[in-house]
C-alpha cells in the first residue's frame, strides 16, 4: 500500500508555489470585481425558470392522473389513458430536472455564499433552504466548513468515500468493504437521505458523552423535521390532489426524486473519486499557506468535460476544480475562469484532472468495485500527479 501524501506531490519550490497562489488570487479578485448586472440577471432568471418548471411539471402530473382516473368508468384503455401516462412521465422528468437545477446550480451555490454579494435577502446563504431532505444548516457546516477546508485530508474530510466507501488503496481495508458495491448503489438511489444524515456520527450517538449525544439527537431531529416536510409534500399532499390516482402521483414524484438523486450522486462522485485525484495525510496541512491550500484543492478535484447545458444541470460542479479553488465565486463564471486555471497549470506543469463523463464515472466505479477487496495499488490511480492526461489534452 502506498501512503497518502505527506507533502504535496509536486516538483515545485516554495517560491513557485507562492507565485501560483498570487496568480490564483488575482484571477479570483478580477472575477469578483467584474460581477454585475448580467450575473444578477442570470441567477434571478434561473430561479424564475426553475420555479416555473417545478410548478408546471406538478400541474402536468396532476392532469395526467386525472386523465387516468376517467379510465375507471368502463373504458379499460384508450388514447386518454395513454396520454395520461405520458403526462405523468413528462411531469416526473420535468420535476426531476427542476429538482436537479434547484439543488445543484441554485441551492448548492447560493449556500456557498456565491450570491451573497448581491445583498438580496432572498438569494442569500443565510436564508436559503433547498428542496431535499438535508437541512441547509447541517449541510453548510458539513460541506462548506469541513469538506472545503480539509478537502481530501484523511481523518478530517468526511467526504472521502462519504465515510462508508473505500475509494483508494490509501484507506485501510476492512471486511465491511466487501459489500460496498451494494451499499454504494443504495447510496446512489437514496442520495438525498445519505446527504441528510451525513453529519450524523452513529458512534457518538450510541456511546458518546452526554453532550455529544445531545448534539447527535439534535441533528437527527433537524433531519426528521426537514425530511418529514419534504416527504409530506411529495408523497402525501400532491398525490392526495389526484384522489383515486394517488399512487400515480406518488410514483411520479418518487421518480423525480430518484432522477435527481442519481444525477447528483454521479456528478459529485465524478468531482472527487476518478483516477488521478489525491488523498493527503494530516501532515500536509501543518503550516499550510494559502497557496498550498490552493494546490491541495487542485489535486483533490476533477472536472468533467461537456456542453453548456451539461454544465448547467451539473450545477457547474463539472468545474469541480474551479469550484474547489473558489467556492464562493458565482458558478456562472467557472467556465471562463477554467480557461485561465488550465493555462496556469500548463505553464507550471501542474495536473488538471479533466475528462469525458464516461471516463470520470468509469474510473470512479472501477475503484469502488476494486477497493472493496484488500490491497489494490493501481499504477493508473497512483500515477505521479504531474503526468496526468490533462496536459496532453490541453
Amino acid at each position: 500500500m502506498t501512503a497518502p501524501h505527506t507533502t504535496l506531490p509536486l516538483d515545485l519550490d516554495a517560491e513557485e508555489v507562492e507565485a501560483i497562489g498570487r496568480e490564483l488570487d488575482a484571477i479570483y479578485d478580477e472575477t469578483i470585481a467584474s460581477l454585475g448586472t448580467d450575473d444578477e440577471r442570470y441567477i434571478k432568471r434561473l430561479i424564475r425558470t426553475q420555479r416555473t418548471l417545478a410548478v408546471g411539471s406538478r400541474v402536468v402530473m396532476e392532469a395526467g392522473a386525472l386523465l387516468r382516473a376517467r379510465r375507471g368508468r368502463g373504458v379499460r384503455s384508450g388514447p386518454g389513458a395513454r396520454v395520461g401516462l405520458g403526462l405523468l412521465g413528462l411531469g416526473a422528468v420535468g420535476l426531476g430536472l427542476a429538482k436537479v437545477l434547484e439543488n445543484m446550480e441554485i441551492g448548492h451555490n447560493v449556500m456557498h455564499g456565491q450570491w451573497d454579494w448581491m445583498d438580496d435577502p432572498e438569494i442569500s446563504s443565510t436564508t436559503w433552504e433547498w428542496d431535499t431532505t438535508c437541512a441547509s444548516d447541517h449541510w453548510k457546516h458539513g460541506h462548506n466548513i469541513v469538506h472545503h477546508t480539509w478537502t481530501n485530508v484523511m481523518g478530517k474530510d468526511r467526504d472521502i468515500g462519504y465515510e462508508i466507501l473505500r475509494t483508494s488503496s490509501e484507506q485501510p481495508w476492512n471486511p465491511v468493504y466487501l459489500a460496498q458495491p451494494a451499499y454504494n448503489t443504495l447510496l446512489m438511489l437514496l442520495f438525498e437521505y445519505g446527504v441528510g444524515l451525513h453529519e450524523l456520527d452513529p458512534e457518538k450517538l450510541l456511546s458518546g458523552t452526554t453532550e455529544e449525544k445531545a448534539t447527535q439527537v439534535e441533528l437527527l431531529r433537524g433531519f426528521a423535521r426537514k425530511a418529514g416536510r419534504q416527504m409530506a409534500k411529495d408523497y402525501v399532499l400532491w398525490p392526495a390532489l389526484a384522489g383515486p390516482r394517488f399512487a400515480d402521483v406518488a410514483v411520479a414524484n418518487a421518480s423525480a426524486n430518484l432522477l435527481r438523486n442519481v444525477w447528483a450522486y454521479l456528478i459529485i462522485f465524478c468531482g472527487h473519486f476518478p483516477d488521478g485525484v489525491h488523498l493527503f495525510d494530516c501532515q500536509v496541512v501543518e503550516d499550510e499557506t494559502r497557496a498550498g491550500w490552493y494546490l491541495r484543492q487542485l489535486l483533490a478535484a476533477a472536472n468533467i468535460e461537456g456542453s453548456g447545458p451539461f454544465h448547467l444541470v451539473s450545477g457547474n460542479l463539472s468545474f469541480q476544480i474551479e469550484h474547489h479553488l473558489f467556492p464562493d465565486m458565482p458558478s456562472n463564471r467557472y467556465a471562463e475562469v477554467s480557461v485561465r486555471v488550465r493555462g496556469l497549470c500548463e505553464r507550471y506543469g501542474l495536473p488538471y484532472n479533466t475528462g469525458r463523463f464516461s471516463r470520470q464515472i468509469g474510473t470512479t466505479m472501477r475503484k469502488i468495485w476494486r477497493y472493496a477487496l484488500p490491497g489494490g495499488e493501481d499504477s493508473r490511480t497512483d500515477a505521479p500527479a504531474v503526468a496526468e492526461p490533462a496536459r496532453a489534452a490541453a
Binding site: 460581477l35 420555479r51 409534500k233
Partner: protein, 363 residues
Amino acid sequence: MRIKERVGEVVDAFATPLRASHYVELVNPLWSSHRLQARVEDVWDETPDARTLTLRPGRGWRRHRAGQHIRVGVPIDGRRFTRTYSISSSPERRDGCITITVKVLEGGRMSGHLVRDLRPGTHLPIGLPQGDFLVPEAVPVRPLLVTAGSGITPVMSMLRTWALVGNMPDVAHLHYAPTRHDVIFGAELERLAAEHRRYDLHTVLTRSDGGSHFCREQLDALCPDWQEREVWVCGPQGLIEAVEDHHRDAPGARPVHVERFRASLAEIDADARGGTATFLSGGTEVEADADATTPLLRVAEDAGLNPAHGCRMGICHTCDVPLATGSVRDLRTGDLIDEPGRAVQICTAAAAGDCTIDLQETS
C-alpha cells in the same frame, strides 16, 4: 383569522421549503405575501435633477400617513442598496399608487441611478411606511411649513391630502429653492395657492431676486403671525438649525417638528485622524483606509462589502454592528467609542484611528 392561517399553512406545505407566495410571485410580484415589492408605473422629471417615481405597492402594503417615508431597495450593478424617501403623494389618492421624488445628490450613487436609469415596469423591494413627521389626524392647528429643495416631498403629501379632502387649514408655507427651475412641484404649488384662499405660499429663490436664506426679518415680513403657528420644517441641515435656533430664542414660539434627510453631524476637528478600518465579513477580513469623516458604512461599501443598512442617518439601527477593536467616532455627537463590543451605527460613525468592525455579528 385562525382558519385563514391554518389554510395558509396547508397551502404552504405544498410548496415547502418555499411558500406558496414564491410561486404566486411568478405570475405577478405584487401578489406575493412573503415580501413587499412595488412596480414603477411612471417616471416624471420634475426639474433637471429631480424625478418623481409613481410606485404601485403590492400585497401587504399599509396606507401611509402624510409625512411618512419608506425604504426603497435598488440593484445597482447587481448589488442591492437601500435608501429612505419621503412619500410625496396623499394617502387619499384613489389609484393605490404612491409617489416618491428623488433629487440627485452630489456623488449620490443611488439617487443618480433612480433619476437617470430607472424604467417603468421595474419592480423594487420597499418597506412599510415609517416616521413621525406627521400632522395631527384632526384638523391641524394653523401650520407654518418651512421647506427647501427636496424637503418639499413629505409636506407635499400633507398639502395634497388637505386639498383632496377639501379641508385646507390656514397654512403659511415658506419654500426655498435656488432658482425657479429648481422648484420641485412648482406649478402644482402655485395652482394650490391659487385655488385655496387659506393656503399662503411664499417661494423664496435664494440665487435670484436677491432672495436670502431663512432669517427673522424674512419670517416677520412673510408670516407676521408665526408665533401663533406650529412649525413643520424639512430640508437641509442649515435650514433646520436656523428654524430651531430662531424658535428656541423666541418667546412664546410654538413647537417645531423636524424631518431630516441627513443626520446632523458634529464639528470634527480638521486634524482628526482616520486609520485602517478592518471589516470581518463571512470568515474573511477586509481592510480599507478610512478617514475621520467618511461613515464606515460608505468605507465598507467602497471596499466591495455591502453591510445591512437602512436609513443611512442613524435612525433605524439596521446597520448596528459591534466594535471589535480600536476606536470610532459618532459623527453626530463627536463622541469617541472605544469599548470593544459596543454597538456602532456604521452609517453615522467614522474611524478614529485603526478599528475593527465585526460585520457578521448584528448587535
